[in-house]
């Protein structure tokens, strides 16, 4: 099944945002049959109920080991599953591990048909990681700003400086000690707490 129509893809991911990004990408690329599992309890039963051709799972998910049970011959399994990553395609394996995603293909689907799906997953996973990175940087920049503002206030009060002078003092100290200005500001805060 699934050789003519769009293959049925199941995304196993506890991150709803990343799953949404992935799902959107797959739909844009013409893969219309995409489902998302975010609840890990009874994972195999959920997968069997959806009966997918392709399963995508993130590498940070401990439930990857649960999927390994699908390779076992047992009465619970109706059709065997083979992992996509074969030794012939080391570049793909490397790229998918780097991106933090793994894909499984159910027997019957041609391997060539998985390639565009996996490539898309890799690029979307990387895009998500970049987005998270940027968010994290923005958040820490904001944190730094707050800390610097408070440190400036302390220096202005205790040393009778203007705001600009207080900032210059923090910055020149940071440069001299080869530290980030946020770290210097934090130590001003800590010192003033101790000296209270």
């Amino acid at each position: 099944m699934g050789t003519e129509s769009s293959p049925k893809i199941v995304i196993v991911d506890e991150s709803p945002i990343r799953a949404a990004i992935l799902e959107e990408g797959l739909r844009e690329a013409g893969f219309t049959s995409v489902a998302h599992i975010r609840e890990m309890h009874s994972l195999l039963a959920r997968i069997y109920a959806l009966d997918p051709d392709v399963i995508v799972i993130d590498l940070e998910n401990p439930s990857r080991d649960v999927l390994e049970q699908m390779f076992q011959v047992s009465r619970a399994v109706r059709r065997p599953v083979a992992m996509f990553v074969d030794q012939s395609d080391t570049a793909s394996i490397q790229a998918s591990v780097d991106a933090g995603v793994s894909a499984y293909i159910v027997d019957g689907l041609k391997k060539e048909r998985l390639k565009p799906i996996l490539d898309l997953c890799i690029s979307r996973f990387n895009a998500f990681a970049k987005l998270q990175d940027e968010l994290e940087r923005a958040r820490s920049a904001l944190e730094d700003r707050k800390v610097i503002d408070r440190a400036k206030g302390i220096l202005m009060r205790m040393k009778g400086l203007t705001e600009d002078e207080a900032y210059v003092l923090l910055r020149s100290t940071a440069m001299r000690e080869k530290k980030k200005i946020g770290e210097i500001a934090q130590s001003v805060l800590t010192a003033s707490e101790l000296l209270k």
Partner: protein
């Protein structure tokens, strides 16, 4: 010159020799700069070892064999020149299943509760009673299809007449999910390594029914695994790694070091959790019941003592025989040879400059049921067991 290595591990007590080798400087003393990478699944460990992202790994002994045979996954020859642990798992059951098994024991529980044949037969009666009542089959968790946990559970219940594929549901569960699953009633019991059994007992939601050393006296549990290709191109580095792990295992086995080792393991980047629980595990002194009953066994977990670190090919043969028994592999003499060649006692002996001497005789797997294991007659050995899924 210092050699950098990346080694993957799962946060379990039997990764101790690797963690201590790094933390106490045994690796550095051998010229190794080891980065330990904590992983969340055995699949990740296996794949990252296979494709070379890890130089070495803390690995389930059966996965090293399965990977070398190409079972269930791509075929990548792996060698295991060092056992990180023998035994160390336990079977924990819910209070309800514990009471049911206790109720079905044919005799005094005080005599029979550590007798795996008695408990397995009692389990068989519990299963029969549930079937009669039309209740759902019992569900039991284990960590991986190719795991000692899987084989220990199967061996135990089959000896009592319970068919693990027909009479109960065996499901793979990642260790960190075991305790929650037991608390929620998603499983009735599980077989897992430390510290998860103790955590279930401490939470009052589980009873440790068996140490797996009740089932097998000496079972290779986790190995230090490397790709065979890598072992051939890096023999000196591998020898240094074996020596560092040996020094660490010797350190861990000194009772006066246990508190310090437990503190090292309890660090969040290592295993995390409560140092007391970790020390109990290392000491083989576990609280087995929420009422505070303790049980002590010198065989609960072996990290290096009694020759535990030397990988014996007979251990690999026993694990391969379980794969055959439960239909994961078909039997062939070539596959048996391949499996035995995964356990490299020769590399272990050479690295330590020790004369090769097996710590175990061929029959010393020490299973509680069936004939003594004979690696030279696996078909004959398996024929002695009624329940199984042999596929030829």
């Amino acid at each position: 010159m210092t050699q950098s290595l990346r080694i993957g591990f799962i946060p379990l007590v039997d990764a101790a020799a690797l963690i201590v080798a790094v933390d106490k400087g045994f690796a550095a003393a051998e010229g190794l700069d080891i980065t330990l990478v904590r992983e969340v699944s055995w699949s990740n460990i296996r794949d990252k070892l296979n494709i070379g992202l890890f130089d070495a790994a803390h690995l389930l002994a059966p996965v090293a064999i399965a990977s070398s045979l190409g079972l269930g996954h791509v075929k990548v020859p792996i060698v295991a020149p060092f056992n990180l642990s023998l035994n160390g798992n336990a079977i924990t059951v819910s209070p309800a299943l514990h009471a049911a098994i206790l109720g079905e024991l044919a005799g005094d529980p005080r005599d029979l509760l550590t007798d795996p044949l008695a408990t397995a037969q009692a389990l068989s009666r519990v299963v029969a009673a549930r079937r009669k009542q039309g209740a759902e089959p019992l569900t039991l968790g284990m960590t991986f299809p190719f795991s000692t946990h899987n084989y220990q559970l199967r061996f135990w219940m089959a000896a009592g007449g319970v068919d693990p594929d027909e009479d109960v549901r065996l499901v793979v569960l990642p260790p960190p999910f075991m305790v929650d699953s037991l608390a929620n009633g998603h499983v009735d019991g599980f077989c897992v390594g430390a510290p998860w059994n103790s955590i279930a007992v401490d939470l009052g939601i589980g009873h440790i029914l068996h140490f797996v050393s009740d089932i097998l006296v000496r079972a290779a549990e986790k190995v230090l695994a490397v790709r065979r290709n890598w072992s051939e191109t890096n023999p000196q580095v591998l020898a240094a790694l074996i020596r560092a792990a040996t020094a660490a295992a010797d350190f861990i086995e000194q009772p006066q070091h246990r508190a310090e080792v437990a503190r090292i393991l309890a660090q969040p980047e290592h295993i995390g959790g409560d140092a007391d629980v970790l020390q109990r595990t290392l000491d083989g002194r576990l609280k087995i019941s929420p009422d505070g009953t303790y049980r002590e066994s010198s065989r609960y977990l072996l990290v290096g003592r009694e020759g535990a670190s030397r990988p014996e090919p007979v251990q690999a043969a026993w694990l391969y025989a379980q794969m055959v028994r439960w239909g994961q592999a078909s039997f062939s003499p070539e596959a048996l040879r391949t499996a035995q060649q995964v356990f490299r006692s020769d590399l272990y002996d050479a690295a330590l400059g020790r004369a090769g001497k097996a710590a175990t005789g061929p029959g010393d797997i020490g299973a509680f049921a069936g004939p003594a294991f004979d690696a030279n007659d696996i078909a004959g050995h398996l024929a002695a067991f009624k329940i199984g899924r042999r596929c030829g």
